[in-house]
Amino acid sequence: MLKTKYLSFEFTIALLMLCFCSADGFGYIDPSSGYILWQVLFGTVVGILFFAKRIWSCLRNFFTSSKHTDSSAS
């Protein structure tokens, strides 16, 4: 729940940043605003996957280590 809240907050911030911020890049090709916006939206969705993956690996590590601790204790 906390993560979802965090992500929706991040998404809003990302859109606000896109609307009001501008920074000149060093590249010489046209990065095209449509594709930059699309990458940010894509990145936000991938961010959910990233955090899901991170939470999953934390949970797995937690259970693996507790299991390991239990078996070594016995």
Binding site: A14, M17, L18, C19, F20, C21, S22, A23, D24, G25, G27, Y28, I29, D30, P31, S32, S33, G34, Y35, I36, L37, W38, Q39, V40, F42, G43, V46, G47, L49, F50, K53
Partner: protein, 486 residues
Amino acid sequence: MNLLPHNKSLRSLSLRDPSGTLFEIGTQLIRQIHSSSSVDWNQIKRSPTLKKFTEKGLFVRSWEISDTDISNLLPELSHKNKNDIKDIYLGHEKINFVNYPSEWAPEMLREAGLLTLDLATQLSAENLGLKDATPFNVLFSGGLPVFVDVLSVEKRDPHNSLWLAYSQFSKTFINPLLAYQHLGQPLYKTFLLSREGLTATDFYTQISFLKKLHPSLFTKITVPALLELWSDKKLRNHPNTEKLMDPERAQFTLKFLLNNLKKSISQLNFNHKQQKTQFNNYMSGESPYSHLQFENKERLVKKWLTLHSKNSVLDVGCNDGHFSRIAASLGRRVVAIDSEVELISKTWSMSRISHPTLLPLVVNIANPSPASGWRNQEHRSFLDRTQGQFDCVLMLALVHHLLTTESILLQYIIELAKELTTEHVIIEWVSPSDPMFEHLKKGRDYTHLTAQVFEQECLKHFAIIEKETLPGNTRTLYCLKKLFLT
């Protein structure tokens, strides 16, 4: 290394990237890396990914040229080296026959795209990336794509998840391939119109409402086009091109994007229009040759190629590349051209592994690729690139097509053959009484074009070394040697 200080014909080949310049000096390719980028290059050149790609022949082989050699070769440029930070000069391996995306089959553009994505993905793990992603960074050496723009590799901010070249990759790889698949628009139409490819907004305006919702077009064309149109109207500034986050997440996001692109173009399936072409497949049931005729033709071509070709062969009107493969099997470097995209796709797919010295290209010899790009000097015309390149030219079952379909006079066809070869031409004369010629002439009278008339035209520029008429008496093969008139 053999430098040629006496040869001063210097031509700049790169016009867009401010970090360096590529020169052609005589027969050599020299890349000057400006001092502003030379520090970065000294780190980039140690990349294990670049080393691996170079060893596989997928990244152009390069070597640094010493200060002494460069001051002999380019005294007018080497004075810049007196600064604290020096310019760096690289020599590059030359690709035998320069070729452009407008001449590739869609499968070749897809292969070049996959190479670009593979390189970008593997470099990202080393905090390196590609600053641009255009098919002009890739040349085909035979059937194999080679990434040739070393200065495309740059250091990447590990906190930034955006790939600035994504837009260019879409415009020059994905959109042209989707336009071929969905609109039947060949690559030469896309790239001869604009070397920057096809924008999502231009594509979007050409497709129906239902197509806009098509799963393969929705995320690749519709959404970027709508965002582009929205941002043009609503945004006062260009969106921020730095999307900073922790490096692990940035790497994950970038890798996900690149893998997604890779999956998208790998899955493209080109159902080439099954057009009923005049260039019937030799090996199909519709072949204009009887088994005996074809066997004889194959025997003759193989014999003459063995005897009279040395290094490089140009097969004009190659059809499915059957005779090009024979030349490649004899160890020759072969460029095979045909105007039919489907045939070149088939030739490339059949030959890329088994005959790696064969380069098939979509070129209509009656209207070959023009010089294009900045001042018409960025990309050389096809005929300009052929000059002095081929010691043997194959023109099999082609002359009657040029006479009828393209309405080119016989004398100009023979003149072109003379310009294309440095030594030999293997050419097939199809008489107007042949069923295929009958089919193509559509009521026009070509009875004046006899074998004697053909031979007289040939004798103006060539000596006839050998000739043989195939069973059926309507087709004759000639082996010609170019005359060097003083």
